[in-house]
């Protein structure tokens, strides 16, 4: 067994889910033509000034509350000065002293089912830089400033994780919090959730921290684990050979599964941080924080317990529902009005709506189908008005064809195929029961129940209200 122990701290940069950038009114949407989403302010043209997007403050506070951190009532933006072509003003607006969120913690549950608390040092707001594209053929670097000015929340953990697995659990937890609260869309492929890992090792029992390296360019949970594991072994090998570890930044190469040294643009750089004189201090009062707290939805942790205890949902079901706040809100509404067993309803949901969302890559449910309508669909299946295999058809009728629930059920109900059959059954019963026909004709409408009952005996599982309709229709023609 190893006599080395690993110390890991994570710095997560998550892009905040806002329509416009943090200091300019440019769009934050991904994938636009180069430099078409970079305004004069983003470019830092002479005379332009940064104007803060209020929504980023709200989102930062939401995150802080979710991790039980302290929200700074007086928070300051500072300039981090260094030169790089993807940094338009050659300074980044960030926060140093007085970050908006301080302290807080994330609880993880390890594989051995042990609960561990990882403390968060701070979370602060900053603007993202643009993109550099290096070209060997043209022997130049192309700069696209679309991303410059996108709002980021940088979340810094204490160096309290002891293994790559713990780091992944922490990262996943943070990811679920920010996506669940709609603070970020957490899209790692598009770069809206990025992770840097600070990794060092020391002899077991040693109090002093070893020299750390910073791993950058990790954009998936899988690679975080691999990168850290590789780096830990690399450091162990070096120390066991009697060599030193250099404090440096290393890039993870996912193809070769190695980390390699990056000639850091930021090495030994004096950033000359000072409060940005264009931006006044952010003053946050208690009322504002309280208002945000009131409107904060329950976090996945709390909901998981609720789903298990009240509805006895399975782990698999819970995982799916909680993967997206829109899903769980929808399911909650359905469960509230449901008389059908919760596990059943959720299964229906997963095999229809959830499946459709995945297939068509839709993240949000709004306006496509209401929880009430979904419940009615399920009910129609449970009461055998519609067969189970028509579940998706019903959903599509409402979602795609924009029909109402009753129209959908009408279209796919069993009775459509057996209309003829039922009509014949009714005619037959009517013919054989003239006495009851006369009673109906004389005004005893209650006798309808007799006809319906008789029909149902022969047409089990049919829709009683449909039968009633047909009975009346037929009786009226006599």
């Amino acid at each position: 067994m190893s006599d080395w122990e690993t110390v890991i701290g994570l710095e997560i940069h998550t892009q905040l889910l806002t329509k416009s950038k943090i200091f300019s009114a440019s769009s934050t949407s991904y994938g636009s033509e180069p430099n078409k989403q970079a305004s004069y302010v983003d470019l830092g043209l002479p005379g332009t000034l940064p104007v803060l997007n209020k929504l980023v403050i709200k989102k930062a506070i939401e995150f802080g509350l979710a991790i039980n951190a302290n929200i700074s009532k007086h928070s300051i933006f500072a300039r981090k000065n260094y030169f790089y072509p993807d940094l338009p003003r050659n300074y980044q607006i960030s926060q140093l002293d007085y970050p908006i969120v301080e302290g807080g913690y994330i609880d993880i549950v390890t594989e051995e089912n042990i609960s561990k608390r990882i403390n968060v040092t701070r979370a602060h707001l900053e603007e993202d830089a643009g993109k550099s594209i290096h070209s060997n053929e043209a022997n130049c670097t192309y700069i696209d400033l679309n991303r410059a000015g996108t709002p980021l929340l940088e979340i810094v953990s204490e160096p309290e994780m002891c293994s790559a697995k713990e780091a992944v659990l922490y990262m996943k937890k943070v990811h679920s919090i920010v996506t669940y609260l709609k603070i970020s869309d957490g899209n790692m492929q598009e770069g809206s959730f990025r992770c840097d890992a600070n990794v060092s090792i020391r002899k077991v029992g040693e109090k002093k921290l070893g020299t750390r390296t910073e791993l950058k360019n990790i954009n998936s949970f899988k690679f975080v684990e691999k990168a850290i594991n590789y780096e830990v072994q690399r450091q162990i090998d070096l120390l066991e050979e009697g060599k030193r570890i250099i404090q440096e930044t290393r890039l993870y190469d996912e193809n070769k599964n190695i980390t390699k040294s990056m000639r850091s643009k930021e090495e030994a750089n004096d950033y000359r941080y000072f409060p940005d004189p264009d931006l006044l201090p952010i003053k946050i009062d208690d009322e504002y924080i309280l208002e945000i707290k009131k409107n904060l939805p329950d976090l996945p942790d709390v909901k998981e317990k609720h789903y298990k205890s009240k509805y006895a949902l399975t782990d698999e079901q819970i995982k799916i529902i909680l993967s997206n706040r829109g899903l769980s809100e929808f399911v909650d509404k359905v469960l509230k009005i449901s008389k059908i067993d919760a596990k059943k309803i959720v299964n229906y949901f997963i095999s229809s709506i959830y499946k459709k969302m995945n297939k068509e890559n839709i993240l949000l449910l709004e306006d496509r189908i209401t929880p009430e309508d979904f419940y009615l669909i399920v009910e129609s299946i449970e009461t055998q008005v519609v067969t189970k295999n028509n579940l998706m058809n019903l959903v599509d009728e409402i979602w795609v064809n924009k029909k109402s629930v009753s129209e959908a059920i009408e279209r796919f109900s069993n009775n459509n195929e057996d209309d003829e059959l039922i009509n014949n059954i009714i005619k037959d019963i009517v013919n054989k029961n003239q006495k009851q026909v006369l009673e109906y004709k004389s005004g005893k409408t209650k006798i309808l129940g007799f006809f319906i009952g008789q029909t149902l005996k022969q047409a089990k599982g049919s829709d009683p209200s449909f039968i009633k309709k047909q009975v009346i229709k037929i009786l009226d023609t006599i």
Binding site: P46, G47, L52, F83, P85
Partner: protein
């Protein structure tokens, strides 16, 4: 008709009465600029084509009787106000070919009223200077004596207005750059309360100190222009919601004057102040006393720490604000850069003049690790006590009078070899910027045939009253009506 010497109200009257069209007026001033400016070098760009177009448009508005007082009147803008489609150089080689794609808020406000942008005026490079000798486009001369400086950094604007090449001009004031040139050139110049005038589109020098304002022939003209350029702007995060929007009416009566007390800071009128200037100011104070104002001595005890604090703060902010000039997105770029570092460092070596480079380095040093507390933090603390001194004095008095400059216009080249001496000449103007307060410089007399200026300083957002006080004084005196001999002809 002496159109060159008419006030804004008089010019407006001529236009309304169709004595002159805006196009004729514009051509008149452009002709004047072409005739006289070779001597002064106060303009970097004469905006002839666009100005004539604006004038024609203004004439159509006047014809429909939909005009504002300022419609159709020419104005010159200091070359740090972004003017869309028109060169904005900031007096620097770095931006000698920079054409902004947008207008500064101040510019667009005045354009929308139908003012005619007649040209961009010369200035100390990136507004760093007190004599307009550091401009890449050559020094500006003082119309009162062509061997002397007009002051800086808004030297071009002051020179142009003093020589009556334009009825009025905009300037900017970070450490005295409106007031000191106004005083050297016999003009009235206003530095508003910080946050009153939008900085959007003003090429930044020191963000927490810069303010745009008018340089004019009179307090009345200053007020007319200031009225239109002040106010909250959502594009400027340091723009103050309390910046007033009401119209300034200069109706201060002699009765109200009885209730106004003016403070005279004892530290300002020590033996360090030139005797002649002190006499001229004392005489004007007598005029105020005769008008009914009350006077009292006040103290601004921490006055002597102003200069180092100002230069540390301004240089620190400037060092960061000027980092964007790197040859990548706009401005000068060095030839054949070998690599990125070469691109940056050679572009900046070539594009910036000596004084700018020096202040950038001072600023970088003051913010650097190990020196931040000693320099930058200390300077910010001194800023606090300077402002507190003023606020404390304003418990006792309503306004404060002060000299604008310890000297009258000095000779070109006289102070360029001694930067510290040049810096020290900002001793009366810089405290006002540090404190964020408003101040107006008015001409109060002459010393050796050169204009002497005096400041009226007020508490936050008291510009209206300050202008009223100055206007009252200008009704009793005629210092502001004097025109330098060489330019007092058509």
């Amino acid at each position: 008709m002496d159109i060159y010497n008419k006030s804004l109200a008089e010019l407006s009257d001529l236009l309304s009465k169709k004595v002159l069209s805006s196009l004729e007026m514009t051509d008149y001033f452009i002709k004047r600029i072409k005739l006289f400016d070779l001597k002064l070098n106060s303009f970097i760009t004469i905006n002839e084509d666009q100005a004539r177009k604006q004038a024609i448009f203004a004439d159509s508005i006047i014809a429909n009787k939909k005009n504002h007082l300022l419609t159709g009147i020419p104005i010159a803008h200091k070359d740090l106000f972004s003017t869309k489609g028109v060169l904005t150089s900031c007096g620097s080689k770095m931006l000698e070919n920079y054409i902004p794609p947008y207008d500064a808020t101040v510019v667009s406000k005045l354009n929308n009223l139908g003012m005619v942008n007649i040209g961009k005026t010369n200035m100390d490079e990136f507004a760093m200077g007190s004599s307009n000798e550091s401009s890449y486009f050559g020094p500006v001369k003082n119309p009162w004596d062509l061997d002397r400086v007009p002051g800086g950094s808004s030297g071009g604007s002051a020179s142009a207005v003093a020589a009556r090449l334009t009825p009025i001009a905009t300037g900017s004031d970070t450490g005295g750059s409106i007031r000191q040139p106004a005083s050297f050139c016999g003009l009235t110049g206003l530095k508003p309360t910080y946050g009153s005038v939008s900085r959007y589109g003003m090429i930044a020098y020191a963000s927490s100190l810069d303010q745009g304002g008018p340089i004019a022939k009179s307090a009345e003209d200053c007020a007319i222009l200031y009225n239109e350029i002040r106010g909250f702007d959502k594009n400027d995060p340091t723009s103050n919601h309390e910046a007033k929007q009401n119209n300034i009416d200069l109706k201060l009566s002699k009765d109200e004057v009885k209730n106004i007390t003016i403070g005279i800071p004892k530290e300002y009128f020590s033996e360090d102040l030139d005797q002649n200037i002190s006499n001229v100011i004392s005489e004007s104070i007598e005029v105020f006393k005769k008008m009914g104002f009350n006077f009292k001595e006040v103290s601004l005890p921490n006055h002597s720490y102003t200069i180092p604090a100002y230069y540390i703060i301004a240089s620190a902010e400037a060092s960061s604000n000027l980092s964007r000039y790197d040859g990548v997105k706009f401005g000068h770029r060095c030839r054949d850069p070998k690599n990125l570092i070469d691109l940056y460092s050679r572009t900046r070596q070539e594009g910036f003049g000596k004084e700018v480079k020096k202040r950038i380095m001072i600023g970088a040093y003051a913010l650097s690790s190990g020196y931040y507390d000693e320099y930058y933090m200390r300077a910010l603390k001194i800023r606090r006590i300077i402002r507190d001194d003023f606020l404390s004095a304003f418990n006792d008095v309503d306004y404060i009078f002060a000299p604008t400059s310890p000297s009258t216009a000095f000779k070109i080249g006289e102070k360029t070899s001694n930067a510290v001496e040049m810096y020290l000449s900002d001793i009366y103007t810089t405290p006002v910027n540090l404190a964020g307060l408003p101040a107006l410089s008015i001409p109060v007399g002459y010393s050796d045939n050169l204009p002497v200026g005096m400041q009226i300083i007020g508490n936050d957002f008291t510009e209206d009253k300050i202008l009223e006080i100055a206007h009252l004084f200008q009704k009793e005196t005629d210092w502001h009506l004097q025109v330098p001999e060489a330019f007092s002809r058509e």
